[in-house]
């Protein structure tokens, strides 16, 4: 008998209700039964009841009476009960509730459990809803897991560390050495987690950022391996080797190279390589190219590389895929201040996008067009913008009007 059968029976009963009122009736009866079951000492189907409650919660009915049951389930020695208990905790509890304090001890014990799946449940829950006190208390344990465990646990510990650093900024110092070591791992999941952690540490603390600048050569090496390696079936997505990891590393390089000549120099070649070697016929290729362009434009790159980057954005603007056009305009927006002339070259295409059917594309085109209004083009731009104003969707009208006004004043 599958563990979910009672849950499925309840779902069937709820779905057979023909009106909202009937549904409420069914759910009230079920909740009463669940409440009664929670009060009983032990019965074979504890995990089923909590699962039912979570289903009911998703539909929008109150489920707070399940909070203590979550605490009890988490403390159970059985994996099936712990699993549902932790899921319930993540969905129903947050640090403001008293019940969440009660699970701290369970999390602490489970972090050193012999079964990696129990450890992973504890890590997941801590990363979702760990309070500052919990984080302070358990940080050394997470650091230990970052250094000495298998890759499955390491990658989860890395993301857990990110959450801890967000809650308690000072603890960033604690994780920096372990994060540095993780960059030597081969497992892509761990590498990805390590890069996310390093990004968080660098964004919080300029001194940490300084120290991590030394890792630029290592990151460049890793990227080279991904971009130039032959076909690797386990990481391949449409011909690109682990695009998610590539995108993440490019973002870190962006942060490290920003406003720093030395670091930017060290990554110039790599960025040029990625920009020219990446296949742009699929979405995954475009995700990597896009991130490369953003990085090139945000660091102290050579002018040749910058021109290449803006040209790639220009190509994106002409792409049939609306997503790509939207993305291109978002990034052109970011550089319209610094590389104004380069963006001006694409003014025609941008103004055409004002006429696109898609509201998101229109919004981006409007922002960009307003930024591109200058003394030389004001007449033609105003004409286009006024045409736009007369036919644009309601939610953009006021923004467009005030934008036109401001531009005219300039």
């Amino acid at each position: 008998m599958s563990p979910s059968v009672p849950l499925q029976e309840m779902i069937r009963a709820i779905r057979s209700a023909r009106t909202q009122c009937e549904e409420r009736g069914v759910i009230q009866r079920e909740c009463a039964a669940i409440r009664a079951q929670f009060r009983q000492a032990d019965n074979g189907g504890r995990s089923h009841n909590l699962a039912k409650l979570l289903y009911v919660h998703m539909l929008g009915y109150p489920a707070h009476f399940g909070q203590m049951e979550c605490v009890r389930m988490i403390a159970s020695p059985r994996y099936s009960e712990k699993r549902v208990g932790y899921l319930g905790a993540m969905m129903l509890l947050d640090e403001k509730q008293d019940a969440s304090l009660l699970i701290t001890n369970s999390i602490k014990n489970d972090l050193s459990h012999s079964n990696q799946y129990v450890q992973s449940l504890a890590l997941c829950t801590l990363a979702c809803m760990g309070s500052a006190e919990m984080c302070r208390d358990l940080a050394p344990e997470i650091d230990r897991l970052l250094r000495a465990s298998n890759s499955y646990i390491k990658k989860k510990a890395a993301l857990c560390a990110v959450h801890i650093v967000r809650k308690v900024h000072e603890l960033g110092e604690l994780f920096a050495p372990a994060a540095r070591t993780l960059l030597t791992e081969k497992n892509h999941g761990v590498l990805h987690g390590a890069v996310v952690l390093i990004i968080e540490l660098c964004e919080r603390n300029p001194e940490t950022l300084e120290r991590f600048r030394k890792t630029v050569p290592d990151l460049v090496q890793i990227m080279k391996g991904l971009v130039l390696s032959g076909y690797s079936p386990e990481h391949d997505v449409a011909g690109i080797s682990d695009p998610f990891l590539q995108v993440r590393i490019l973002r870190l390089l962006r942060i490290l190279g920003h406003n720093n000549e030395g670091a930017s120099d060290a990554m110039n070649d790599l960025l040029a390589q990625v920009a020219t070697n990446t296949d742009s016929t699929k979405t995954v290729g475009n995700a990597v190219l896009y991130e490369t362009v953003l990085t090139v434009l945000d660091i102290k790159s050579e002018s040749g590389l910058r021109v290449l980057a803006v040209n790639i954005l220009g190509r994106f603007l002409l792409n049939n895929d609306r997503n790509i056009r939207y993305i291109a305009m978002t990034s052109l927006q970011k550089i319209v201040g610094t590389d104004h002339n380069a963006v001006q070259r694409h003014r025609g295409t941008i103004v055409d996008c004002l006429k696109d059917q898609d509201a998101s594309v229109k919004r981006r085109a409007l922002e960009l067009s307003l930024a591109l209004v200058s003394a030389t083009n004001v007449r033609s731009m105003m004409k286009e913008l006024l045409i736009f104003l007369s036919s644009c969707p309601q939610e953009l009208k006021s923004h467009a009007a005030s934008g036109i006004f401001n531009a005219a004043e300039r």
């Binding site: 074979g44 899921l87 979702c128 999941g189 990805h192 998610f244 609306r322």
Partner: protein, 192 residues
């Protein structure tokens, strides 16, 4: 960071909701309704990015969504995530569901909501992308399911046996068999 992941059908009925930032329950339902309202207005050939949801976080947040047959998969993210990357991640998640459920359909998500949560937990953790390799994710989910099943088989058995015996309707075994009234006819054997 991913702020929330919502899956709902073409009528707005939620099939999976996961918030990585705390919201009170009525707020959660309001966010679901608002998100559905924004996403269902969109044509099928427009871009998959939406701005303008005011409830969930303001100007730094975007809704990135994909529409598959009867379901919308919506990820609400902030600017630290790559938009195209998240779009690919949604694809990875859906393909993983497809592998775990064998040609997944809406009914699978409805009746196995807990399993979908466990799969999602291997992809996104604490609002951050954890693993993007579909084979790894599927393998880990398999191992955990097996562990849960094996536990259910062994340690749940005694409890189930006890409750089974309690509920069994054993026929009453008569204690006193009175044979006094039985008329046994002894056949008269012809003398030989």
């Amino acid at each position: 960071m991913i702020k929330s992941i919502l899956i709902f059908n073409n009528h707005g009925k939620p099939r999976l909701i996961r918030f990585y930032q705390y919201f009170a329950e009525d707020m959660q339902q309001q966010i679901i309704r608002e998100t559905f309202h924004l996403v269902s207005k969109r044509d099928d050939n427009v871009c998959n990015f939406l701005e303008g949801g005011s409830l969930i976080g303001g100007s730094d947040h975007k809704l990135i969504y994909r529409h598959y047959a009867t379901l919308y998969f919506v990820f609400c993210v902030d600017s630290s995530e790559s938009e195209l990357g998240i779009l690919d991640l949604i694809q990875v998640f859906v393909e993983t569901l497809d592998k775990c459920f064998e040609n997944v359909c809406e009914l699978d998500l409805i009746f196995h909501m807990d399993k979908v949560h466990y799969i999602l937990q291997e992809v996104v953790m604490g609002g951050m992308v954890l693993e993007t390799n579909m084979n790894d994710i599927v393998a880990q989910v398999e191992l955990q399911t097996r562990m849960e099943k094996s536990e259910g088989g062994l340690s749940a058995a005694p409890a189930r046996a006890v409750s089974a015996v309690k509920n069994m309707n054993l026929p009453e075994i008569p204690r006193n068999i009175n044979i006094g009234d039985i008329n046994i006819k002894v056949p008269s054997l012809s003398p030989f």
